[in-house]
Symmetry: C2
DNA sequence: GTTAAAAAAACGACCAGTCGTCTTATTTTG
DNA sequence: CAAAATAAGACGACTGGTCGTTTTTTTAAC
């Protein structure tokens, strides 16, 4: 099958884009670098994507999916309450970022800052990705509320928004401090204190 | 005096750099664009700065100064307690960002994401700028503590760090939502609730 | 007239995107 | 069914232009 090969190429392009765009940014990454890495000829790129901008918009969606799956895994785990699921999930993230030596951070945060208000296409894609992510975190927080572990006087959505925002900021701090300490403090402040019943 | 002209040129370059780097990012802004804007010939750039990277590192410091002055103004204002100083300051920021139609956001946040872990020079500059800013916010929080308006069981430094992080995240959200709502919620959650006694 | 600062010109490398060409599928026709 | 016609996909060379930086020339200061 040739159609399969095409899907594989596209998948490879997206996966490589996640890595390169996260580490070097949108304007800091050339198409050639991406194409060389996945051994796709320059001329073929535009058979897969109409433009670099549209490609980046797809990369954004491709990036967030695993995170949603990962947290959803914790959420579905029987015998694990919502608050513990959140804690376990973020601890795993922190562990991974430490192992990766704080490289890259979050593609969403990086691109929001770099092109969040200059590329309409990417802005919409970022909006959707963050919304999906935040909504899922809100589910975990709501579960924690019904289980009596999380305060009830704040809406899950509002708490999720604060959690996402503080986490994004902590990721930026991680990058310049070269340490996961900001991440740990962020989770401790919110999940370990502010959100707690 | 010719030395004065040189200082003016350098100042103009830095001021223009703040605007362009904030709105378009590091890799998204060419030297030519900056130089054209302040009418400095391209060949002259390296009489002012050794490299683009070093220039950006200086732009970062040039960016944060007014914010420090602005908040310090509120802090010095007699009859204004620490918590109110923080609230007034951030409300003024929000007002300004709304008037500017959410453009740019925060140079520090944007550059932390884009080049915070690829340019060592800028990393150090960002580190210093954030540290200075956060320390000043901590002074305001500490003042609020002695005045009995802010909780005492958390250190001013830790609260300032959380405030900076959440604010950075809220700025990113502002850019993609094209709304100051995230900023308002961020300040309300932290200054209006979590930090309060 | 000598020295140092300023600016023009030039540098190779790279940018996103397009070109015509060649190869492979798909469809049409007998 | 097979052969011919057509369309779609793959591809590397190339486009004009811009990148950050360096070299060379011009200008200004003393």
């Amino acid at each position: 099958m040739v159609i399969a090969k095409k899907q594989i190429n596209k998948e490879n392009l997206l996966a490589q884009g996640v890595q390169l765009l996260m580490n070097q940014g949108y304007h800091g990454t050339g198409l050639k670098e991406i194409l060389d890495a996945v051994q796709v000829p320059k001329g073929s790129f535009y058979n897969y994507f109409p433009s670099k901008e549209s490609y980046a918009a797809e990369v954004i969606q491709h990036y967030i999916e695993p995170f949603i799956q990962q947290f959803d895994g914790y959420l579905q785990q029987p015998g694990l309450d919502g608050l513990s699921a959140l804690e376990s999930y973020f601890n795993e993230l922190i562990f991974g970022l430490e192992a990766a030596e704080f490289k890259g951070g979050c593609l969403l945060g990086n691109l929001m800052g770099e092109i969040g208000d200059t590329s309409e296409l990417c802005r919409k894609s970022l909006q959707l990705a963050v919304y999906r992510y935040q909504s899922l975190l809100a589910v975990g927080l709501k579960k924690g509320q019904t289980e009596g572990r999380i305060r009830l006087d704040k809406s899950p959505e509002d708490m999720a928004a604060l959690l996402v925002n503080a986490w994004q900021g902590a990721m930026l701090r991680m990058k310049i401090e070269q340490s996961v300490e900001p991440l740990k403090k962020c989770i401790k402040d919110l999940l370990g204190d502010y959100f707690r019943l």
